[in-house]
């Protein structure tokens, strides 16, 4: 069919344009990270010779000397802790909102929405002052607490949308069939709720992994500085060299896991980000 083949061509062009748009900056970073120090300023999109020197320099000297290993560990531990705590707290709250009737339900939802709009910069000054007084400045909890605050609205909305879809009658049905309440919860409800919780966890992790403002404001050393903040402080091998190569290599190292994640859980992430927008 004439019309069918024309449409096919148009969609192909659309898809190719979207792919180029999304991938060029990532491919460029990979290219810069693979260039040799001599060829890094040649301005070519595809490196003329490939070297892994930039990656080696990142990990040189082990945890004490390397400018990258400690921030990477900090980033992973802080983002994971935020994710676990945030999902636990949000699950309790979302369960109550989705299943129980109580006054204040709307207030909590509206409040969570307000916090999602809150400008983080407005809390930086007070937090800086409070954290130094409380001994939380430049510590893991000092970052995990603000990350919790700003990721909870996201997690709650996502989980409420998922929990509303769960056929809770199955829990009673299982109990009628002789299951104990705990068995009914563990064998029926948990498997149904797990995909939603997992999706919310991915979104929270990406949020905590991405943050820069809190990370540079509330840390002062590698004790708790995360990767985004440490990238801003990277220096070259000597005072005459730009740290371009090592920044690109570090950027690739922290980006690859996210891309793998996205490849595997594409469907989940899309449904998580769009779930609540459709149903009220």
């Amino acid at each position: 069919m004439e019309r069918g083949s024309r449409e096919y061509v148009l969609w192909s062009i659309g898809i190719v344009v979207v792919l180029i748009f999304a991938l060029i900056p990532v491919l460029w970073l990979v290219s810069v990270s693979l260039k040799t120090p001599e060829s890094i300023t040649d301005g070519r999109f595809i490196p003329s010779e490939v070297s892994l020197d930039s990656y080696k320099s990142l990990f040189e000297g082990g945890i004490d000397e390397s400018p990258f290993i400690k921030p990477l560990i900090n980033s992973i531990l802080i983002a994971l802790s935020t994710t676990v705590i945030s999902i636990v707290l949000a699950s309790f709250c979302a369960y109550a909102i989705a299943r129980l009737e109580f006054p204040g339900k709307r207030v909590i939802l509206a409040g969570a929405l307000a916090i999602a709009m809150f400008p983080p910069i407005s809390t930086i000054g007070p937090l800086f002052d409070m954290w130094r007084a409380l001994g939380l400045y430049d510590t893991y909890p000092g970052l995990i607490i603000p990350y919790l605050t700003f990721s909870l609205p996201l997690a709650i909305y996502c989980l409420v949308a998922f929990f509303r879809e769960i056929p809770w009658e199955l829990e009673q049905a299982a109990q009628v069939d002789g299951a104990t309440p705990f068995q009914a919860f563990r064998k029926v409800i948990v498997p149904l709720a797990a995909p939603g919780m997992f999706t919310a966890a991915i979104l929270v992790f990406i949020f905590a992994w991405n943050d820069f403002l809190f990370a540079i404001s509330l840390t002062s050393s590698d004790a708790s500085r995360t990767v985004p903040a440490s990238l801003a402080f990277f220096t070259g091998e000597s005072s005459f060299t730009e740290p371009t190569g090592s920044i690109a290599a570090a950027a690739v190292v922290v980006t690859v896991p996210i891309i793998v994640f996205v490849l595997f859980f594409q469907r989940r992430i899309v449904s998580g980000l769009t779930a609540g927008a459709v149903k009220g």
């Binding site: 969609w11 659309g14 898809i15 979207v18 792919l19 999304a22 460029w28 970073l29 810069v32 890094i40 300023t41 309790f92 109550a96 909102i97 299943r99 129980l100 009737e101 109580f102 909590i108 939802l109 969570a112 929405l113 916090i115 999602a116 809150f118 910069i121 407005s122 809390t123 930086i124 000054g125 007070p126 800086f128 607490i145 603000p146 919790l148 700003f150 909305y157 996502c158 990406i206 820069f212 403002l213 404001s217 985004p228 801003a232 371009t244 690109a248 996210i258 891309i259 996205v262 594409q266 992430i269 899309v270 980000l273 769009t274 779930a275 609540g276 927008a277 459709v278 149903k279 009220g280």
Partner: protein
């Protein structure tokens, strides 16, 4: 919101309320701890002279900090920059995001590939995206100046509006996917039969888009615009990495950060913070007015 459990009696209702509040309390406390209390504290700091470099001086100064901020040229330059960047990036994103949402929704094939590719910018750290674009446009190491039609000598970060151009490109790249996904959520709710009926009546593809898609998507578009506008207004990471505010490219968030963290002037910096908070409040109120009650059906994602 439908009632899930019918209230059997007041005792049961009361225990259900108690359980609900117990379940919600930890999350509510965690959300208030770093927002409600600090904003009150910020207001308290903003009416005092507090400079951590000179701890002995200080005291209540009333609205002096606000007067200094509002009468400074820098604040108004930064407000202009922030509004300019917000309006330009969000407008470009709306058009691009809509196009990508249509491709994701209607493509006959390759939907999975497109969705995966689009999620990559969403998942990437903003600082990393800023570096990628900065390296691409850098006069010495970048590839952009080697492209045809672009001068080899172009110093992108040497001027104000050429810096803005790169900042806008990086921001648009990073955040369009989010816009596209929110718009996609609106697109999937539209009944496909409407298009079929319009086709039968002889409506062109463009007519179907402007007469069916756009009007039905109005709430989804407004929700997406609300979240993206507020997010764009807080722009910090990209500018900090690319220019650190040089060439008059500072945003209000960078100004606040410089006063609070770099200069440790908590009084003046807090006045800036409170003013930013008021700006966000005004933007949010305007959108909520436009949306009516529908805003609660939207979702707060970053």
């Amino acid at each position: 919101m439908e009632a899930h459990v019918p209230a059997a009696g007041s005792a049961r209702t009361r225990s259900e309320h108690r359980l609900a509040w117990l379940l919600c309390a930890p999350a509510v406390i965690a959300m208030l701890a770093v927002t409600a209390y600090p904003i009150v504290y910020a207001i308290a700091l903003s009416v005092q002279q507090i400079d951590l470099r000179f701890p002995d001086e200080g005291g209540f100064v009333g609205l002096d900090n606000y007067t200094s901020v509002l009468s400074s040229q820098l604040w108004w330059t930064d407000v202009f920059n922030t509004v300019f960047l917000t309006v330009v990036t969000v407008s470009i994103e709306l058009v691009l995001g809509m196009a990508i949402a249509l491709v994701m929704h209607r493509a006959i094939f390759g939907r999975g590939v497109v969705r995966t590719a689009v999620l990559i910018p969403y998942g990437i750290i903003t600082v990393v995206s800023a570096f990628a674009w900065q390296f691409a446009f850098a006069p010495d190491s970048g590839f952009v100046n080697n492209l045809p039609l672009i001068s080899d000598e172009m110093d992108w970060f040497g001027g104000r509006f050429s810096s803005f151009a790169v900042i806008i490109m990086a921001e648009v790249w990073k955040t369009t996917p989010f816009m596209a996904l929110l718009l996609l959520a609106g697109l999937v709710t539209i009944d496909g039969q409407l298009y079929e009926a319009a086709k039968v009546d002889g409506a062109s593809a463009w007519q179907r888009f402007t007469r069916i898609t756009l009007p039905l998507m109005k709430p989804a578009i407004l929700v997406a615009l609300l979240f993206r506008t507020l997010d764009a207004f807080r722009v910090f990471d990209t500018i900090y990495i690319m220019t650190a505010g040089a060439q008059d490219t500072e945003s209000v968030s960078i100004l606040g950060f410089n006063q609070l963290i770099s200069r440790l002037n908590l009084g003046l910096g807090s006045a800036v913070s409170v003013l930013i908070f008021i700006c966000v409040l005004i933007i949010a109120t305007l959108y909520v007015k436009l949306l009516g009650t529908r805003v609660e059906e939207g979702r707060p994602v970053k």
